[in-house]
């Protein structure tokens, strides 16, 4: 499943799932644009890729802001070339029960998780259409499919990502561009590190595979969907959660 000579863009590539995705795409030969809120934050991922003999560059980008996204993609085009693959991974949480959640907490999460994916897809779609090939992979979440108390903002944004994924699949399919979503379950990253251990044990107990996930469990699914061989798979949501939800 070689991605030799292809350019991949990964948002939220500074750590966690995004960093792992960037590294595994680079390991397949892709030149990877690693996006984070500041180029400095993504540099660590770039350094690891380069140390392993891969090609990558760091970019600072606020994915929820149109101007920043347009500017970043222009720069990527100039530096690395036309993107073949876009991984919309950047995401934030501001968990709170509805009656205590501020409007700002809602807006901010939707802006990054949903609007950010939309803006990046918009920036990547035209060159992909021209090239008559492309892969857009959006990170949603099992909580976007099943809901979660305390995550009305996050779950809504992630459910929105599913609608975005399927609509893009229909709009862009005729141009050889596929669009799919990955729905991770409970993955051990900085985003989930503050959840209490009792909850983690409960989740572990309910997961058929019997453990929590790692970024290394998610990235191979992205690499597969990014491959040329996956060109007949589009509009799908692939849950990667150890069987927690079936």
């Amino acid at each position: 499943m070689s991605l030799e000579g292809k350019v991949a863009v990964v948002t939220g590539a500074s750590r966690g799932i995004g960093a792992e995705i960037a590294q595994q795409l680079a390991a397949q030969g892709a030149s990877v644009a690693c996006l984070a809120t500041s180029a400095n934050n993504a540099q660590g991922t770039v350094d690891k890729i380069v140390a392993d003999g891969g090609n990558a560059a760091a970019y600072g980008c606020s994915v929820g802001e149109a101007e920043s996204v347009e500017e970043t993609f222009k720069q990527i085009n100039a530096d690395l070339g036309v993107p073949y693959c876009l991984v919309n991974n950047a995401g934030v949480t501001r968990d709170q029960l509805l009656i205590r959640m501020s409007e700002e907490d809602f807006d901010q999460v939707v802006q990054v998780n949903l609007k950010g994916a939309w803006l990046c897809a918009k920036a990547a779609a035209r060159p992909m259409m021209k090239a008559r090939e492309g892969r857009i992979i959006n990170l949603t979440s099992v909580n976007g499919l099943h809901g979660a108390a305390g995550q009305t903002n996050y779950a809504s944004s992630k459910a929105g990502v599913v609608g975005l994924t399927k609509s893009l699949a229909k709009e862009l399919g005729a141009r050889g561009i596929t669009c799919n979503a990955i729905a991770p379950g409970f993955i051990q990253t900085d985003m989930t590190k503050d959840l209490d251990s009792g909850m983690k044990e409960t989740v572990e107990g309910q997961t058929p595979i019997g453990r929590l996930g790692t970024p290394g469990d998610i990235a191979p699914a992205v690499v597969f969907l990014a491959s040329l061989e996956a060109g007949f798979i589009t509009g799908q949501v692939l849950t990667v959660d150890g069987g927690l939800y079936m």
Binding site: M129, E171, L172, A174, R175
Partner: protein, 76 residues
């Protein structure tokens, strides 16, 4: 044949992947095999090339190559 007409024909031919000889005034986009995405691409390319603005209504009413010639001629 004006320079503008030639440019419009070249853009349409490029976006639809057809020979420029096929892009005659009387040809319909349906006959040229264009889908809705092609039409958006043609419109956006024309807007960029001629620094004009084409409304969704105008673009939606386009049936033939002549319709595009008329829109561009009225704006440049």
């Amino acid at each position: 044949m004006s320079d503008t007409t030639n440019k419009v024909q070249a853009i349409i031919a490029d976006k639809l992947g057809v020979d420029v000889e096929e892009v005659v005034a009387g040809a319909t986009f349906e006959a040229l095999g264009a889908d809705s995405l092609d039409m958006v691409e043609v419109t956006m390319e024309l807007e960029q090339e001629f620094s004009i603005s084409v409304s969704d209504e105008e673009a939606g009413a386009v049936k033939s190559v002549q319709d595009v010639f008329d829109i561009v001629a009225a704006k440049v």
